[in-house]
Every structure is written in structure tokens, then in C-alpha cells.
Symmetry: C2
Subunit: 318 residues, 2 copies
């Protein structure tokens, strides 16, 4: 492996200089769970923490990618370096369903100051969340001013994927009854900014009212959650959204909460990484380790209970 | 602890005899993560595997609990022993929002052949999923013919909670656009039976059509997913739902798939249990262990990267 070893510092250097291809290569390494990728993040980590990281989440079809394209355009108009990480937990056979959305980012593909990357989940959300974080750190180290992490989902696990963000934006649309119910029931964590996209569609007013009602149910918050109406395709409302995101960031900094939030996010991520790694090790052992297969046979035969089997697995990992 | 020790076999015996109070006490033990609870499940595990376990999932407000009350009534009419486990991941302050649903099960509270239990999540879904499985096993050992596990949620993690089930029923309603989009995009796993509840509401036909369209996008399945229209409050469609659930079970058994499915579920659960336990241990160490706090300080100061910190944590667990 001496060739790979000597190329690592070179890759790091090119990445720090903002080289798009180096950044792409580095992200592939962490996505493939290549030890070189982890070594790279380890080396570059002290150079991170400068980017404003914005997470965009919401149900499929709400128009997140169109909105993202508009946000990228905005940032570029202010001459900011931008990276977009689209996390797509859909199964391989339905990629087409989301492609329409993704395509709207194409305008920015040729801009040397915009880096766009998709990451598809084939495994557990834990593993994906792990790779997402590493990729975001690499983008940050590469000198991006704005890092947008987009994730498709309607549950808590999907919201967790954007937990690395300084600001979390939830994008809904008229018809997002399930997500609003989830907020109302306290099943989904409250984001920092809520967008009602497709605001020209019937029912947008009702949707805004329902969201407002859902937000009043929770405990008193340090800060009201702004609701922004947008029409991402026409660009309507995007200025306001940019402003609301900036206000949230200014508030975090002004109150001295940015470091606190990042510390909390990082603690969650370290634990999440550890649990995801253990889970992956165990999943591998299911395929490779005859003694693990035997243990599961005993569980299936109702001779060893699942919790005892789990304990045995944990002990063997030691 | 000699008193507790001698009471354990006694508790097991009463539980096996179908004593409701013993079952309630046993579930409290696993919910409180009491070692006695785990010991009990260990002892009773060989006596499990007889119950038909049905998972009911879907967004809040879809009417799952009303439907459950109807299913329980049906089972009781056939003289079956029934247990219901309601898993509620909502935050403490919004309990009221769901109470309306829960109350409909009250009719069955006084029936000695029906055991109803709610479990609220205060921590991670992993931990909740862990306790859910143990509780379901205890219900199974207590001689219940039907065990219904109900979970509130709109994402994959919530669907995972019902992974212990032989048959998974997804309950939607007109307005469940987000959930349908999630199926369409391949973000949510396909259940065994889909219910459109509140089928008298406007838009029910459109919802059924959308679900049908979403189902055609996936890969060919071994079995078509039936869509049942219900009005849980009036009882309309419940007969058909009972029939569809029974058909799914008969199919699993006829094709020799029940054991395979249970084996797969159990494997996932053993790994899930191990990962959840590790995660909890790590979370505790965040509060208790000064060296872990110090490690996280280093991460926050960008001196140790998250993945290296995770590795260090995993090594320390050994």
C-alpha cells in the first residue's frame, strides 16, 4: 500500500485548496468505508468548523431539491463557496421517482464554486448518517462557506440525518398532513425554520394554519419557529427563506448557542458512529462467523433468548 | 436481594398461568431495564412462538387505536386471548393529543381475556424497540393468541418497531400524502396489508388510487398487498381487514415462510438489541465518566475527530 499512503497527504492538500475532484475522491473513500477516508477526515478535522451547515428535510415530493437549487443560486450571487449533499434513502429501483427533483440542481453542476454530491443509502440509516457527517466535514475543510445537507424522509430517523446542521429547515407542502400530525403528536422534533412550498396550491393557507396550531402544542421555545411560504420553481419566497436562515444563525451566535449546539450535535454523532460501527461489525459477523450463525439458530429454536444472545455478541466484540 | 430472587419463579409461574397482574409486573420490569425482567424473559422464552403477532403502524391521527379496538372485539368474539401493546414515541407534553385515540380501547379494559399496555418512549427508538420486543415475548408466553403491537410514526424507524410482527398493517387515511410519497420513493418498507381508514372522508378513492400507483413502482413482490377500506368508528371494513390479516398468515404458513420471517426478524432484533445496549452504555458514560466528557471536549475543540473518538469509545467498552 505504499502508493496509497504517499497519495493521502497529496489528496488532503488538494482538497484544502478547494479542488473539486479531490473532494469528490475523498467523499468516495468515506462512502466506501475505506480506512484512507477515515484517515483523511482525521487529518482534516482541525480545519473544519467554518462552514454554515444547513440541513433540509421533509417528505419526498415537497420540492426540497428545487428549493435547494434556489438557495445555491442565492449563495452564489453573494460569491459564497457552496456544497450540497443529497442523502437519498430510497431503494435502487425507484431512483427515477426522485430524479426529476435532482435535475434542477444541474444548473449549478458546471459552476466551479459549487460542489454537488448524492449519497444513496443501501444499508441502515445509521451507516448513512455516519458517511453523511464525514462528507460534510470534508466539504467544510475544502473551504465551502455553505454546506447544505438534504435528506428525504418523514420520520425521526430521517431528521436525525441532518443533526449535523447548525440550522434545520423542514420543507412541507399542502398535503403534508402526516408530517404535521407528527409534529402535533410530538413524534417529530421541531426544526428551526419551516417552509410551506408550493404555496400557490390549494390548501396552502390551511397548511400554514395547521402548522401554527401544531407548534403551539409544544413546550415554550427559546425562539419562535418562522414559517415561510415559497414557490421554489418561480423563486417566490426564497429571499425570505434565506433571511430566516441567516436570522437563525445570527441568533445562535448572538446568544452564544452555536458552540453549544455543535457540541451537542458532535456528542450525538460520536455515539451514533460508535453504535453504527458496532452494528455493522455484527451484521458482517452474521455472514462470516459460523459461531454467530449458530447462536442465531439457537435463538430461532427458542433455546437462547434474544437479549442473552445480544449480550453474548457484545462480549465477543471485546 | 433474596426476596426478589425467590419471587421470580413465582412471577413466571403466575404469568404462564395467564395472570394479568403478573404480566403487567413483568413488563414493568423490562420497561425499567431491571435485570429481573431480562432474567424472566430468558426463562420464559422457550414458551414463546405461539402467538400471532400483528404490527399496526401509521401516522398519528389515522385511527389506529379505534381500528385496534375493533380488531380486539373481533378476536374476543372468536374467544381468543388478546394482548395490545401501544408504543407511543410522543413527548410527554403532548400525551393529551393522543389520549382521544387511546380511550377507545377502554371498552376492553375490564375483559379479563384482554391485556392492554402502553409504552412511552422517553429515550431513543432503539431502546423502545428493545423493550417492545421483550414485552411482546412476555405476552406470548402468557398464552395470548393474538398480540397486537401498535406504533405511531411516519418513518422507517417507526416501521422497524413493528418488525417483531408476523404481519405488518399500515393504517393511512385521506390526507396521508407524505406516507404515500414515502412508499412511492422507496423510503418506507412495504407492509403486508394497507388500510385506508376514514374511508367515508373526501379523497378516500384518490388515496386508494395513489397507494395502488405507489405499489406498482417497487420490484415484483411474492404477494400482492391488499388495500382495505375501513371506517373504524362504525366497524365498516373491519371484517375484511380481519380476513386479509388471516390470509396473510395462512400464506406465510402455507409457503413455509413463517419460520423464515421469524428467523430474519429475530436476527435483526438481536443486532438491534446489542446496538441499543451499547448506545445506552455510551450515553450513560457521557454523564458519568469524566474521561468520556474529556474526549468530547477534544472533539468539540476539533482536536480529535468524531470517528476516532467513536473508535476510542468502542475500545474502552471492551
Amino acid at each position: 500500500m505504499p502508493v496509497a499512503r504517499t497519495s493521502l497527504p497529496d489528496l488532503a492538500e488538494r482538497l484544502l485548496a478547494g479542488d473539486k475532484r479531490a473532494l469528490g475522491r475523498a467523499i468516495s473513500l468515506v462512502e466506501d468505508d475505506d480506512p484512507e477516508g477515515w484517515a483523511l477526515v482525521r487529518e482534516l478535522y482541525p480545519r473544519t468548523g467554518n462552514a454554515a451547515v444547513v440541513g433540509i428535510t421533509g417528505p419526498p415530493g415537497a420540492g426540497k431539491s428545487t428549493l435547494l437549487a434556489a438557495l445555491v443560486g442565492h449563495a452564489r450571487a453573494r460569491d459564497r463557496e457552496v456544497a450540497v449533499l443529497s442523502v437519498d434513502p430510497s431503494s435502487p429501483f425507484t431512483q427515477g421517482a426522485l430524479l426529476g427533483d435532482r435535475i434542477r440542481l444541474v444548473d449549478h453542476y458546471l459552476d466551479p464554486h459549487v460542489f454537488i454530491r448524492s449519497m444513496a443509502s443501501r444499508g441502515s440509516l445509521g451507516g448513512l448518517s455516519e458517511a453523511t457527517l464525514q462528507a460534510a466535514l470534508l466539504m467544510d475543510a475544502a473551504g465551502k462557506d455553505d454546506v447544505f445537507i438534504e435528506t428525504v424522509g418523514v420520520g425521526q430517523a430521517e431528521v436525525d440525518v441532518v443533526d449535523h446542521a447548525d440550522t434545520v429547515v423542514l420543507v412541507l407542502m399542502p398535503g403534508s398532513g402526516d408530517s404535521i400530525q407528527a409534529i402535533k403528536a410530538g413524534v417529530m422534533e421541531i426544526p428551526d425554520v419551516i417552509v410551506v412550498n408550493k404555496a400557490d396550491h390549494a390548501g396552502a393557507d390551511a397548511t400554514v394554519r395547521e402548522i401554527r396550531a401544531a407548534l403551539t402544542l409544544g413546550p415554550p421555545r427559546e425562539r419562535d419557529v418562522p414559517i415561510v411560504r415559497t414557490r421554489a420553481r418561480s423563486g417566490e419566497g426564497v429571499d425570505e427563506l434565506v433571511e430566516r436562515i441567516a436570522e437563525h444563525r445570527a441568533w445562535l451566535i448572538g446568544e452564544g448557542l452555536l458552540e453549544e449546539r455543535r457540541r451537542r450535535n458532535l456528542a450525538g454523532e460520536v455515539i451514533g458512529l460508535a453504535a453504527a460501527r458496532l452494528r455493522r461489525r455484527l451484521e458482517r459477523s452474521l455472514a462470516d462467523d459460523p459461531s454467530v450463525v449458530e447462536l442465531l439458530d439457537e435463538v430461532a429454536a427458542r433455546r437462547v433468548d434474544p437479549a442473552s444472545a445480544a449480550e453474548q455478541l457484545l462480549e465477543r466484540q471485546s
